[in-house]
Each structure stands twice: as C-alpha cells, then as structure tokens.
C-alpha cells in the first residue's frame, strides 16, 4: 500500500515547481497549523489518551478509575488494539445536517457490530423481559457519567419520560415507539440504576427501537437520553417564566419548545453533555465551514486491556459542496466518509485510491430507486387503474433493467423489487422477482388486460374513461444512490414504447416535504429501506404520509379524520393490521411470520416497482485508519459508519493526523 506521506511530498513538489500554488505547501514556511494532540509515544501501556493524562496531572480531570463505570463495556477491536491520538477529517454537504449524530450516539441498548445487527448491551448492561413482553426492566451500568462528569442515572430517563414525552408542547402526540398498539407505555423508577418500562400490550420491537437513532437519538423529538441536570434550566417546569425569558433573550427562538430543542441540539450547542464517544466543542459559526468534536473523557467503553475508548482524539467536520467533497475524498483529504458520497463519484474514487493513500471499502448498499404508483390516488379512475396488478406488471415488464444496470453501474447492480434484502432477517430468497424480465410483448398484453386498449391520435394509450393518459413522475435529489431523475428518464423512454405517456418533474426537498405527504400525485421515484424496515414501518406499511406508494392510506392510519387521509381496503388494510400485530408480538417466531406475510403481500402485488440497486456503498478510509469493518451495511437504521464502531478505530500514525 502506498504511504500517506506521499501525498504531502507530492504537494511539496508541485508547490516547488509551480510558483502559483507554492503557498499551499505551507510547511515550506514552517508555519504549520497548531498541533493539538500530544505525542503518541507513551502509548503501549497507557490506559487513556495522553491528552487526558495531562489534564489529570494538572488536576482538571479526576483519574481514570473515577471516570469509568464500575463495569465498563468491553469492546473487542476489529483488528487490533490501537494507539491514542489524531484528528479525523470528515466532510458533509448540508450545513444543517448532523453527520456528527452517528459518532455522538450512545444508546440504552446498541447495535452489535454484526450483519444483521442485533440489539446488544449499551448503557444498560442487562435487561429482563417480564409478563410476556409487557414489562421490560433495564439495569444501567453503575457509575456512568455524562461528558461533564455528572452521574447518569434512572432520573435522567424519568426526566425524558415525564418532562418530554408527556409534555404536550414538546411532543403533541406521545411517541409512537413507546405506544405499541396505540397504547402509551409508562416508565417506573425502581432505583438509581433500574428502570421498568410497562406496557398494556406486549411490545415486540422495543429492544430494536432503543438502538435506533431515528427514534431515540438527540435529533428526534422523542430523544431518550437527555441530561436532566443541564436541560432543567431551560425547561418550563423547573424555572420561572422570568428566568426562561431572560435565557431566551440571550438565545432567541420563536417559542419555548423551539428554544428547548435548540438547547439539546448536539450540532449547534457545544454545552450540552452527551454520553457518546465524542462531543461537539466548536460548532459551525458565522460563515465558517468547520466544526470540531473532541473525545468524551467520561466515555464508558474500554478495549480488552481496559484502555479507555475512543482511541482517536478529535473529529473535524468541513461543510462543502458535493463536487468538492468527492474531490477531497479522491484526494485522500477525508479520513472516514460514508454519507454524502455520490454514486457518480465512484470511478474517480476507485482510480485514485492507490496514489492518494486511502482505501475504498465496499459496504452493502440499500438504495434501489424504485417507481411507486400512488395506490391512494385522489382520482378514482387512476386509483382503480393503479390498483390493477396487470397495470403494474405491464409497467414493470416494459423496463429494460439490464440496459440501466450496464449504463449506470457497469452491470454490477442488482435487479429486484424492494422486498427487504438478503441481509435482513425477514428476507426470503426469490422475493421481488415477479414481472422483472424485459418483455415488451408481455407488457403490452398486460396493459391491454388492465383495460388500456384504446389509443389516442398520437398512438399513446387513453385512460379507461377515454381521456388522455399522462402520468407525472416526481423526485428530488435524495443524496444516496443514483440521481432519481435519471431513473424517471429511463422509465419515461421505456414506457413510451408501450404507449404510456409520463413526464418527469424534479422538485426541491423543501417543496417535496410540503406537497408529497398530502398524497396528490401520480408516482414518485425514491429508494425505499430494505433492512430493519420493521422499526421504520412506513416503507412497506402505509403508516404515514411519507409512505410514497399509498400516502393517503398512511395519513388515515395516523388519524382517521385527517383531511388528506383515505380509508384503505383489502390488502392495504391487511398490511396495517399485520403491522399492529407485529409490534405487539413478543414471540420472535410469530413476529418473523407476520413480517413474512407483509413482505409476501409486497412480493405478490409489486406495489413498489424496483429498478436497479446500487452494487455497493463506498466507505472511504484513510490508508492508516485501522479497525474499519471491510463489509457492513450502510443504512440510516444502523447509523452508517457507526456500524463499524468508530470509537475503536485508530490511526497507525496518529502524529500525521493532527
């Protein structure tokens, strides 16, 4: 493998020979950026980072034994025990997106670093399930501390339950993940380290829900791990209105609820204590483009020799446009990157990995940008048409997936309708293969059978009621996989050949989230989730307005009186009742069976017409970054790079990453 030093040498040489850019090789003028990490020399036996040792020596931090819990969580490094030190360079496209949430995450339970990921111990070292899944008892590790040194106890969890979940301003509706079958659960404090969660019906997915950042992370409105001692000063129930107003004057927000959620934003507020391996110390400011995270001196995980994790001292996030991010990655300037790497940049990334000293790991990807007809279309004629299996089969047969695969992924992509995927526990071999062959004759036969026999003067098919049939396909730039608009453009061409007229329309994400949940559209192109979909129900079961293939049925599920809702019938309703049952089933075998029934319905009905799936998700890692999983699943549900536990990653030459 090439030495990462060569990049620097290369810079210097090019700087010398070309005066225009000579200033870039700043080391010429011995004017390096300040070094923030200490030497990693005394590493071998050290139980903590040298940065922390010096803080302990100067009396600013208690010794390690007092910072770790009685029974710290032991992590077996993926390759080898590491060295302390280094700053990890990261990138992101969106100023507001919090890629840092993945590496700041800690959970009552956490995913095991396996495929498939399972719920494993975290802050809670063990748990019992009582009364057939109606009661869960969690035992927290004793001596856990927030990043500011304050103990983390059951009281913090009770604060989340009493002051957040039950507060109508913060959570107008009690969090769904704590209300199986629509019946809100209850927290009961047993002692400082024991918490009971009680439900009226068995809760089948609670353990998995607790691992999922989308439901319990800081970004969610139903975050579970809130530092009560810190947040109390901003909570209505603990301070007088005058105090609150004074605090809000310093940090204006339109309402108290917004103010509170700003205060617990781990991307903007560097003061909030966390439980994860790193914490924000310098947020993005003004027109600056970088934010910095430092190690949490109280982190509660150690390696097998009892050395405190994380190994790496800091992370630095730089906000930049997508093209620049790709170039920086291809230049070896990003030390770890999964998200925001666009599929289009793959060739450049693969080509440069030898010369620029980074590696590209091929993780399992989810994205399979699919065509989703609105089964709950407001127009009854189109709704009836869309609900005919022959119609969907005809559209599917008309798509030349081989051509798409060759053009987009050099033939490496997978061809399937989304019905989970091989890495998911509900997956069954052979699913998602109906109507997948490219067969124009069969497509025409199916479309005729769906009642589209009449054609207009332009040769295109007419609606069953004789009107002109024109479908509008919508999409926006999702940021994973291939650009959805190109999928729509392929479909447009293929469908034209069988007499179906479709126009493609790209929208901004903001307008997308305005319009789409109302459900007044024909079809969209979007990549659905295919692993751990049971904890993120909307992909296969119409449970809300973002169930793209049946948004109005989803709205009805949440609220029967929703103005944008529509009562589902037949199989659509069956999906919802099956899911209600799945959530409230404690028996794993029965739960798997219910999941299979849901997927079978999708397999038979092809409500989501798959195209071609991304062959892999590139993970960019610096050449000397160790303990990176060669293969894992890159998914929001397993928290992207967190699937490889960044706290146990280390740089072989930390001094080069300062």
């Amino acid at each position: 493998m090439s030495d990462p030093l060569s990049r620097r040498t290369f810079l210097q040489v090019s700087g010398l020979s070309l005066s225009a850019t000579a200033v870039a090789g700043c080391s010429f003028f011995s004017t390096d950026a300040k070094k923030s990490t200490g030497p990693a020399a005394a590493d071998a036996g050290a139980k903590e980072s040298p940065v922390l040792t010096s803080l302990v020596k100067s009396g600013k931090l208690p010794p390690l034994e007092q910072r770790l819990p009685k029974n710290p969580m032991v992590i077996k490094p993926i390759q080898s025990a590491g060295k302390y030190g280094g700053v990890m360079q990261r990138g992101q496209i969106d100023r507001n997106a919090t890629q840092n949430q993945y590496v700041e995450f800690a959970g009552l339970l956490e995913w095991t670093p396996t495929t498939p990921a399972k719920a494993g111990p975290g802050l809670a070292e063990k748990w019992e399930i009582e009364q057939d899944g109606k009661v869960y008892v969690f035992h927290l590790r004793e001596g856990l501390k927030w990043s500011d040194g304050t103990p983390f106890t059951t009281d913090d969890l009770m604060f989340a339950y009493e002051k957040e979940f039950l507060n109508k301003e913060l959570n107008p509706v009690f969090p769904g993940w704590l209300a199986p079958g629509g019946k809100p659960g209850k927290f009961v404090k047993v002692d400082d380290h024991t918490l009971r969660m009680e439900f009226e019906v068995p809760h089948g997915l609670l353990l998995k829900y607790l691992c999922f950042i989308g439901l319990t992370g800081f970004g969610s409105s139903s975050a579970l791990l809130l530092p009560a001692h810190y947040l109390k000063q901003f909570h209505k129930d603990f301070v007088t209105p005058a105090q609150l107003q004074a605090a809000m004057k310093k940090d204006p927000a339109p309402s108290w609820a917004e103010f509170f959620s700003n205060k617990r934003n781990i991307w903007k507020n560097a003061d909030i204590p966390v439980l994860g391996p790193w914490k924000l110390v310098a947020p993005l400011q003004g027109s600056g483009v970088t934010a910095r995270l430092d190690r949490n001196p109280y982190y509660w995980k150690v390696d097998e020799q009892g050395r405190q994790l994380p190994y790496i001292d800091s992370q630095q996030y730089t906000v930049m446009p997508s093209e620049t991010l790709g170039l920086r990655a291809a230049n070896g300037q990003l030390d770890l990157q999964v998200t925001d790497i666009q599929a289009e940049q793959l060739p450049l990334l693969i080509k440069n990995q030898q010369t620029k000293g980074y590696k590209v790991n091929r993780w399992v990807a989810e994205p399979n940008t699919s065509l989703q007809l609105n089964q709950s279309h407001p127009d009854p004629v189109l709704r009836t048409l869309f609900q005919k299996l022959d119609f969907r089969a005809g559209l599917s047969h008309a798509i030349n997936r081989k051509e798409m695969n060759d053009a987009l992924f050099a033939g490496q992509g997978f061809v399937r309708h989304p019905c989970a995927q091989p890495e998911d526990e509900y997956w069954e071999k052979g699913m998602g293969q109906r109507f997948i062959e490219y067969d124009v004759a069969e497509a025409n036969k199916r479309l005729d059978a769906a009642g589209l026999t009449r054609r207009g003067p332009d040769g295109m098919r007419l609606r069953p009621d004789g009107k002109k049939l024109q479908l509008v396909g919508r999409c926006f730039q999702v940021g994973v996989g291939i650009d959805a608009i190109s999928v729509l453009e392929y479909a447009q061409r293929y469908w034209k050949a069988v007499g179906i007229d479709m126009v493609a329309k790209q929208m901004t994400p903001e307008l997308w989230y305005n319009e789409i949940p109302h459900g007044n559209y024909d079809l969209v192109a979007y990549p659905p989730a295919t692993i751990l979909w049971d904890i993120d129900s909307l992909w296969y079961i119409p449970t809300n307005g973002l169930t793209y293939w049946a948004p109005k049925f989803g709205n009805w599920y949440g609220n029967h009186k929703d103005p944008f809702g529509m009562a589902p019938t037949g199989d659509f309703r069956t999906l919802q009742t099956l899911y209600d049952e799945l959530v409230t089933t404690a028996d794993d075998a029965k739960r798997l069976d219910l999941g299979h029934q849901i997927l079978h319905l999708h397999d038979q009905n092809v409500w989501i017409i798959g195209t071609v799936g991304t062959p892999f998700q590139p993970l960019i890692a610096a050449g000397d970054l160790k303990n990176v999983r060669p293969d894992a699943i890159a998914s929001f549900r397993t928290h992207y790079e967190n699937a490889s536990s960044p706290e146990q990653m280390y740089f072989d030459s930390p001094e080069k990453h300062s």
């Binding site: 070309l18 170039l327 903001e510 989230y513």
Partner: protein, 334 residues
C-alpha cells in the same frame, strides 16, 4: 443641489417600501409554507399532528394572518426594533444570520470590485489607446471569453484542474487544519491561497464587460476636436489621455456604481455555492428554496435599499466629476 438631494432622499422612502411589499408578496406566492415542512418532519418521525396543534403552530408563526397583515407586522418590526424576524430554517433571528455572513461577503465583494476595476481600467485604456496592437487583440480575445463563460463554470473547471494538476481541492476560505488555529503566516497564506480563486472568478465576468465598454467609449472620445486641440498645444500624450477623454469615458461606470453595491451583496450566488463560500448569496438561495420567507425577504429588502442608496451615490458622484450634469442639477433645483 441641496433641494435636489432632499427630494431624492424623500422619494427613496416610498420606493423602498414599494419594493419591499412586492418582494414580500412574491415570496408568499408559492403554495405551502415552512410550517408544512415542519409538520411533515414530525410525521416522518412517526408522529401525527392534529388540527388543533396545527392551528397553534400557525398562530405561533403568525401564518394564520393575511399576507398583508404579515407584511405590516414584518415591516413595523424592522423599522421600530430593527428586528428582521425569525428564520424558520435556522431557528435564529434573521439579523444574526446576516451579521454572521456580512464580513466575508463584503470583504470578498470589495476585493473583487477593487481588483476588477483596477485591471479593467488599465486594460481598457491601454486597449483603446493602442488599438489593433498585439496586446489589444489578446485583451479582446480574453474579454470575449470572460463574457461568454459563466462564472460558476469557470469556478468548477478551476477547482477540478487544481485537483488534477496540483492535488489540491480549493473551497471554503481556509483549509480545515487552519480553522480555529491561531493566526500566523501559514494561516494568512492559506486564506490568500483560497481567496484568489473566488476573487478571480467573480471579477472576470465584470472585468470583461468593463474593458469592452471603456474601450468603445474611449475610442469615441479620442478623435473629438477637444483632444486634437489639447494635443496641438503640446500636452504630453499620457497626461492628455488621462485628463480629458478618460474622464469622459468613465461616465457610464460612475452611473452604474449603484448596481455594484447590491451585487456585492447577492451577486455571487452561483460561484459561492460552487466554491463553498458561506456568504449571503447561498443563504438567499436556500431561503428561497425552503420558503423561509423572513430570511429571503430580509436579504432582498437589504439588497433593494442598497440599490437605491447606490443610485443616489452614483448621481452625486456623476455630478462631482461632470460639469454638464452639475448644471442640470442646478437647473432642476430652482
């Protein structure tokens, strides 16, 4: 002159109000508002928002009022309290957001303007005085290229070439390792190394136009009798050029100074987006896309006010340098 100035100042008030009203209404035109996005996000997290909660949220953001009422509220807050409203997207006061972005925006704008004009004036005068010389042809060719190629394309190309040839990626204001570092020679050089590109790209488009117009104007003037007369008196050729025809040829630029001020403020949207510069341009673009109306409105309003002020400055400067305009003012003042 004083009377003229006063009348101009008074006329500015309704102009600005009218522009602000129109821009506010245009921002309101697209269907939906930021609140729908908020609701959709809640739904995405598995929550359903009831109609009473929706009403409460609407009242909180004053979205239940008519657009005119929202406008009046917005304007009176600006005038009375200097409060531009709240950005929904960033959850911060608009004034704070603008304050954060202004130093870089104005610094970049001024640098671009100064460098652009210096280059343009020298090149334009040279090109006219030495018409059809070799260098004139070179300048002409370059200006046509500069006019024809959009700035963001130049920016993209230069960024890619930098990567390809020198293994660097230039974007932002400084390299990540220098952010938060103490100022030293290294940091200064690093910032300069990042800023030459945007300044060059931003200046290139404007420079080309300025050179062409200056060249044409100057060529018109060079053969007028007053130039011949001055030359006949034995005035040094260089002095002659600078003292008479150039001054006259500059008139159109002074008259358009007013437009460069708002251009400093929002003119570099595309280039700044491509280069990852966090100035007010990309802020406006995002605000419009997200229907963050107080933020977009605030930026547009400021740009309008700056245009009006700039036009006034142009008129005054024009009067200062050109006697013909001054005489016109004197007449109108009576």
């Amino acid at each position: 002159m004083a009377g003229y100035l006063l009348r101009r100042l008074l006329a500015m008030v309704p102009t600005v109000l009218l522009i602000s009203l129109v821009s506010f209404l245009i921002i309101q035109l697209p269907p939906g508002d930021f609140l729908t996005t908020v609701v959709a996000k809640l739904q995405q997290q598995g929550q359903t928002v009831g109609s009473d909660q929706l009403a409460a949220l609407k009242a909180q953001y004053a979205l239940d009022k008519s657009p005119l009422e929202q406008y009046l509220r917005w304007m009176s807050n600006i005038i009375l309290h200097g409060d531009f409203g709240q950005s929904f997207q960033y959850n911060k006061p608009v004034a704070t957001l603008l304050g954060e972005r202004l130093p870089l925006t104005l610094g970049l704008g001024l640098a671009t303007w100064l460098i652009g004009w210096t280059v343009a004036l020298v090149a334009g005068i040279y090109s006219a005085a030495r018409r059809y010389s070799k260098l004139d042809y070179v300048i002409t060719a370059l200006t046509f290229l500069g006019l024809a190629i959009p700035g963001f394309l130049v920016a993209l190309t230069v960024v890619y070439l930098e990567f390809k040839l020198f293994g660097q990626t230039l974007s932002g204001v400084m390299s990540p390792e220098f952010e938060g570092a103490v100022w030293n020679l290294g940091k200064l050089l690093d910032v300069l190394n990042h800023l030459w590109l945007p300044v060059l790209v931003l200046a290139s488009g404007g420079v080309a136009g300025t050179i062409r117009v200056l060249r044409a104007n100057l060529l018109d003037e060079l053969h007028k009798p007053y130039v011949t007369a001055a030359r006949a008196r034995g005035l040094d050729e260089r002095k002659l050029l600078m003292r008479y025809p150039t001054r006259v040829a500059l008139n159109p630029f002074i008259a358009t100074i007013g437009w460069t001020i708002p251009a400093l403020f929002d003119g570099e949207v595309l280039v700044a987006s491509v280069l990852g510069l966090e100035t007010t341009g990309p802020l406006l673009l995002n605000a419009l896309k997200a229907q963050d109306m107080y933020l977009a409105g605030g930026i547009i309003l400021i740009a309008c006010v700056l245009t009006v002020i700039g036009t006034l400055i142009s008129d005054l400067l024009l009067a200062a340098v050109d006697a013909r305009v001054r005489v016109g003012y004197a007449g109108s003042g009576k």
